[in-house]
Symmetry: D2
Subunit: 349 residues, 4 copies
């Protein structure tokens, strides 16, 4: 079925197609090969955003609009293959958010889940359900679906992070809800660090049961995650396809920290080349440490710290680390796994 062409469109058939169109009918056989493809053909393209080039634009945006007026002052990373859709992969949104000293991004909530991966700055906060967490570069912060959240920068320097959201997925499902909070910030009801202490030490409150699918830990500090990678790198050999790669988990279930977005952290030793690999989850990477390049099909993306790049679904790719490198990444892998759709292939096969 998949290698053949569509059936010939004879005049008789075309007349039939025209005839039935007003009845909201159309022939599948004219579209089958594009709807059900032999392999994924993502429209998304490999692409990279060099932070040294994007940062001036962000700062310029900081002068053109306030965080308050913008609600969220974010420059979206527009995948060049997606024709103006607000997407970096088929299902996911990514953008760089800037919040200047003294600014507040006002409280709201929405069904879209969001991750914040901290790029620049020290000590601005994200508040989720009454608890503020202070953010440092490399921290992975979650604002779960339908939780009130706001951001504020009480420091003296700009704060920038990468936003990742499941916008296209929620919209395909027609499941978007959002509302603003009556005030610009929500009240603080728990001290900083409470969630991490309560849920993040391989212990859970004795009578607590998770009510939602998102991790109760909403800041995974880089210091702690990096320490795990350092020990693994010291203790054993890297995986040929991934180096030393860990996935962030919800400690209440062992599943992904967010139900719709998988998040990962990997260390590539200096000089290491990963073997070609592909999977069906188009993936967004952030380089945190080191420098190197990622070959995606015929495209070579050279990265250094704070750069962001995307590898679309099913494109074979391999990483090379010129210096010891750490990459954060995220994708819709948990969605695909829950639905029985995720696939990977190792090597050039």
């Amino acid at each position: 079925m998949t290698t053949e062409q569509s059936p010939a469109r004879t005049p008789e058939r075309q007349a039939f197609y025209d005839h039935i169109a007003p009845a909201n009918l159309a022939p599948l056989w004219e579209r089958l090969h594009s709807l059900v493809t032999a392999e994924p053909h993502p429209a998304a393209l490999p692409a990279i955003w060099h932070y040294r080039e994007v940062r001036p634009h962000l700062i310029e945006a900081g002068g053109l609009i306030t965080a308050e007026e913008a609600t969220r002052r974010v420059l979206m990373l527009m995948n060049p293959g997606l024709g103006g859709e607000a997407s970096i992969t088929g299902s996911l949104f990514a953008g760089l958010q800037l919040i200047l000293p003294g600014e507040i991004a006002p409280a709201h909530r929405h069904t879209q889940s969001a991750l914040r991966f901290i790029i620049e700055g020290h000590g601005a906060y994200t508040a989720v359900d009454g608890e503020r967490t202070l953010m440092e570069p490399g921290d992975f912060v979650i604002t779960p679906s339908w939780t009130w959240h706001d951001h504020g920068n009480d420091t003296s320097e700009p704060m920038v992070w990468l936003d990742g959201l499941d916008v296209q997925l929620v919209n395909l499902l027609n499941a978007s809800f959002a509302e603003g909070y009556p005030e610009s910030t929500q009240p603080v009801s728990r001290p900083e660090g409470d969630s991490l202490a309560r849920f993040g030490h391989n212990l859970l409150p004795v009578d607590w049961h998770p009510a939602v699918k998102t991790s109760p830990v909403f800041n995974y500090p880089y210091a702690r995650s990096r320490e795990a990678l350092a020990i693994l790198a010291k203790n054993g050999a890297p995986d040929p396809y991934h180096g030393h790669k860990l996935r962030y988990v919800n400690p209440a279930t062992g599943e992904s920290a967010m139900p719709t977005i998988g998040t990962f952290l990997q260390l590539l030793p200096a000089g290491f080349n990963t073997q070609p690999y592909r999977s069906t989850d188009g993936t967004v990477y952030v380089a945190i440490e080191g420098e190197g390049e990622t070959r995606v099909g015929d495209t070579v993306l050279r990265w250094e710290p704070r750069d962001i790049f995307v590898v679309p679904s099913w494109l074979p790719h391999a990483h090379h680390a010129a210096r010891e490198a750490v990459l954060f990444s995220f994708s819709d892998r948990p969605v695909q796994e829950k639905l029985g759709l995720w696939r990977e292939a190792r090597g050039n096969a």
Copy 2:
């Protein structure tokens, strides 16, 4: 956030937007209100396909192309709000498939999961993984993701069923794989009815564990499902919002029979009016028995047996059964539930 308009597009800002566009950057604040909406705004519209009107087109298609040439001779039900997308709701595909006496729809497999809900004819078969099941009106048949399947009609009458597939969802995730089988039909390795006996009697083989997320029962015969409804209708009062409504389950897990598509069967007593209800899963209905109407917002859809209609996400709707009616329906509800996105509201609130 959600009630406000986008910020003013000053000339200075517009210049900035134009300037950053080549860097694959764009301002979120121009798009925020359309990306993250206060409530679902599905593009899909309520619509109905009356079988008495569609059937002649199907029969005409039967004269224009063979099942073999078409691979699948299906007239797609095109939601009039979706601008030519091959979709009946945002995430789902529906089409009516005709297979004439003596025809074969050749064997293939794909990652898209498909349901077949039988509309007309008696005794054509669907083969899945070496077992053929004979189909009768009202039967709910599954061809699971990545299983070889073919259809054939050895009877003397046309056979028509409704196809439901997760095409848009799989494509958003860029996870489509498909391949044709070397022959037009796969060999039969197990007798008819084997799966139902093995998995469908509230017993499971002692050492069997499910390897996939789809039900091992691949034909849920209408006779059996209808019997359950009849007993419930005799035994108790209908639910005000749903009448007597059951969901098809995977007996190995208690979850939905298909991982991406939820399927339901409900009985509405003669004269019964359901109360207004809405949920985030746009739903496709097939009237099996009885007649009545469904009010969706301001649209009234009058249905009789074999008619197919669609209620988009979050539109309040209510059913009225003029005579005792049975409706089959399907939606992406299990996807939304797994991702923590599904919502419903009862009444006009």
Copy 3:
């Protein structure tokens, strides 16, 4: 560790043991080999109760005490290896219950889960949570933990069934609760067959979620289970160790019908010999149809319909069916599986 003897008990050591005993202390090394054994050494012995021999005793009991006075008129099947413990295996209780025409076994509830496997009689009822089910030979009926249940015989003939309960397990865990109902029978609030229609047709009520771990189907009729076995026996070859063997499942989860007791039904073709097999779950069998024998170690148990026999943990055993035979069986296998303890071995190894 496991092949050695305990350390020598020198006078000095013995004096120490005597010295510390009043402090509620004792040396593990004196007991280690009996507490942690190299293999299971069940005290239970293989044994059989021939119904033709037990029935007269049951009938005699019927003349000595009423069901009402006895609460439950049950003759316990006492494993001859267990020294008067009310057990048929290490963890499970079995007994034969007789209820005469016109009698009632009064309503009560307890945390112990009970199964009833019907041996003789037609049409007496078990009531569970407001629904009565009529019992026929071969039916597998559950009275779940902490549900009100009573039994009554409105027919003209004696009714006998096998009771299986998790008594020893609940007692080891010190988790027994029980209470009597104010009346001898509970009111009937749902028609006969309601649960089976609602939960047993591979469909579940659309908004129902299981609140307990026991199956919502509380009578698995033999007619239906036997039909599944008949089809399997017609369709394929028997498993060398089990014949055609199915396990009863909770349709809401795919797990065992009862959380503490696994239940199974198997067909052995006429003349079939199973290969030697053993597992850690001591198992109680009921012969329903056919005749044959089961060799357990050096013991041969010859059975015919209605006979009950027990195979203790880890004893190799093999069945021979002289005529086509159907065996019901139950064990604590789901407990062992949930705790990661269950093991099996095939063949004589």
Copy 4:
């Protein structure tokens, strides 16, 4: 049913009982009230072992037998109500293990799961599946079911820990397997701390899936757990029944760290009195810090650091902390929860 006495034992009935006994039959109604009790009646008694009293016995044992000869030099904590059974509660074993400088407790494995809660000494090791962990007071160490494990003390001081095992449970199920390792110690294949780095930082290896039900983290260091408690104690009010109480979890599933034994850590502020509470899981406590007393029914158990005490099933109890106290505890709660048997009651009701 539960408040009544057993039926009268008339001579005629007694004759019948005597008559059927050789047929391995006995009347349930004579035993029903002791088998199925209205409430738990644990034979176990509240008891305490003061470390200052037990330690001299342990040291004396150190002079009477080597760790090697004893296999495990453990003084069992014998519940005074259990008549010489090697049990501290109905289902669980506890003992104090001593390993002297230079000694090895030789490698073996068994299906019983064991916990080690460190009481005294610094830096002896437990090796599990090729990794050694160094032990400090307050650490909770697991040797999972059927994993090779050995212990060694390369330090200059005695090391003492509390062993907790599911011995009675495994024996009730007749599921004990054990074997010795050919050498006294197993080879070390992974560096110290590898498991904690790999599994204990709210991250998991990207392609790892748990193969067993026990946590892959096998040492939960006290320093880390205590830090969590300290933050909770600073941040909020204690629960009236538990103070600040956390349960150790398997980060791969969110379930208990061990499938058969639940483990807990709780902080009681100085001067705090918990409200009366009871649950069906008989519980063993170790006082780590502080001092206080626990009233169990009419018994008062006064504890100080390193003391061990037991609260049997369903006995109301309340803690009083004279000074800020930390208690470790373990019970069979996860078993009861998996089987649907666990109950608790708050207050004196």
